[in-house]
Amino acid sequence: MSDLVALLTDPLASGFMQRGLLAGVIVALVCGVMGSFVVLKGLAFIGDAVSHAAFPGLVIAYLLGVPLYLGGSVAAVATALAIAWVSRRGGLRFDTAVGVLFAGMFALGVLLFTTIEGYAGDLLGYLVGNVLFITAEDLVQLAVLAMIVLAIVLLLRKELLYATFDPGGAQASGLPVARLEYLLLGLLGVTIVVSIQAVGIILVVAMLVTPAATAQLLVVRFSRLLSLAAALAVASSVIGLYLSFYLDVASGAAIVLVETVAFGLAMALGPRTGLIHRVRQSRVVPDAESRSGSGIVGARVP
């Protein structure tokens, strides 16, 4: 028993692990909540785009000697708002426009990166992230930004829910749907920059999408989706960081893989798609109504 406790407490002796765990939990909380909206609104691709677009911002901030968060946030939020603007304008297929925009931004980042003279390895670190190397100063910035995002989302959650579920109905009865959408994408930009430190640019999208997708397989109420997605993300972060500590593997990848395993389990066993669902189906003769409720995630035919 005491061995087990030691297994959990030993890593906490190091400052790295303390700060890393704290940062991991904060990032997971904000990603779980924002990810619920990302999944419901179908913004996964946008999340990926915005995270890649943050890279040139980080490089420019590095070149100018200003805080990296600032550069990344400006680039990410600007890209998110540009995407929202493009989507409202139409004209070009939306995913095409997003694809063009984010590949171009990432290329700019890589190009600027190669102009840096000398060693800039910590910038490369942002590609895969390492939450264990977070400084106390970064941790404070991260916590403040995450709290701002969470506070805004929780304050506006019923308006955001209505605007996400039925934009037309919400707008017709007086909710500022366009402004809520810009706000949501702006917050998504900030969330992504906050998360990049933990899991890196390439894996941020998993942090956003996977816990929320897992939660969507398990519950059918929005309020529970938010809390379950956040809880799953937090648990995955903690487990992933311990795995990273003991197995000496990359922390971001470990967190994301734990999340992915949880998703796989929910898919295989969960009440809506998995074993539990099939057992129930075989016991009860389903009527047309209950069968139509067993939808799978993403089964939307345009």
Binding site: L161, Y162, F165, A170, A172, S173, L175, V220
Partner: protein, 290 residues
């Protein structure tokens, strides 16, 4: 009494402009999506208390007309007034119900959640629904006969139940103007009767109902007035004028089948599918295996 006489007998006519309050006024409104024109030069006055059916073939601009009234589309030209103010000014007194296909039925919300959303714009930011909100939600659920299914996820509902839920959401908002896109499409006869009873009762208290429909018989029997739409406003008239063969021909072109019944009743059938007016940025949700 024939269908026509019954329909005409209890109608509230689309009166002259000076009589009573006007719920919706469109003045030479032209609107479209992107570069595609959908409706041109529509001038229409809908008096408060109207029960107006908007009919026309696929792609005629029926949904467009509802959306432009709801403030969801900006007209290219022309002026719109709703409930005596410019578009948007009285939005909290308007309830809009989209076509069923524009709703994501996998969304993790229950029947009660959806109906409560009707109250959201009225509750205010950062506040939770209060006692009065809950009471109105319950009353709306009872009115449409869905109170026992309040906790059910919306994907687990039949087509008729889904329409009932969205009407309940509109009722819970206590609006003065109902703008409904295909409120009785794809529902069974009982549901259609129930929903039309509810809407008619609302108009008796001075509220205005404007709804698109593909069901010409329903338009004739259960609405008070009709607007014929095909890229423009062809005509407006009492519900009985649904059977006016000249107007039907002008509105539907070759897409309508007119049957002459034994007692002289005309029955008109439209091809009842509805993919008209899809704006480029709308997502349609189709149920698999339904």
């Amino acid at each position: 009494m024939s269908e026509v006489e019954r329909a005409v007998g209890n109608r509230v006519p689309l009166g002259p402009p000076t009589r009573g309050a006007v719920a919706v006024r469109l003045d030479d409104v032209t609107v479209g999506y992107g570069a595609r024109l959908a409706l041109s030069h529509v001038t229409l006055e809908v008096p408060a208390g109207s029960l107006l059916a908007v009919i026309g073939p696929n792609g005629a601009g029926k949904s467009t007309l509802i959306k432009v009234m709801a403030g969801l589309l900006k007209p290219w030209s022309g002026r719109i007034e709703t409930l005596g103010g410019p578009s948007g000014a009285n939005a909290r007194r308007i309830a809009y119900v989209p076509q069923a296909e524009l709703v994501d039925w996998h969304f993790p919300v229950s029947v009660g959640d959806v109906v409560t959303m009707g109250r959201y714009p009225l509750i205010g930011i950062g506040r939770r629904p209060g006692a009065r909100d809950r009471e109105l939600v319950t009353r709306a659920l009872v009115t449409v006969g869905m109170e026992r299914l309040a906790d059910r996820q919306i994907g687990a509902l039949s087509g008729g139940q889904r329409r009932r839920v969205f009407l309940a959401r509109a009722l819970a908002a206590e609006p003065d103007l109902y703008l409904l896109d295909e409120p009785v499409t794809g529902v069974d006869a009982t549901t259609q009767e129930d929903l039309m009873d509810v809407l008619e009762a609302e108009t008796r208290t001075g509220k205005t109902v404007i709804a698109t429909t593909h069901d010409l018989l329903c338009a004739a029997q259960r609405f008070h007035d009709v607007a014929f739409v095909n890229q423009r406003l062809v005509s407006t008239g009492p519900a009985g004028s649904v059977f006016d063969q000249r107007l039907l021909a002008e509105t539907y072109g070759g897409h309508v089948l007119i049957l002459q019944g034994e007692l002289g009743t005309t029955v008109a059938l439209d091809d009842a599918h509805h993919h008209d007016d899809a704006a480029g940025n709308e997502r349609h949700y189709h149920e698999e295996g339904r």
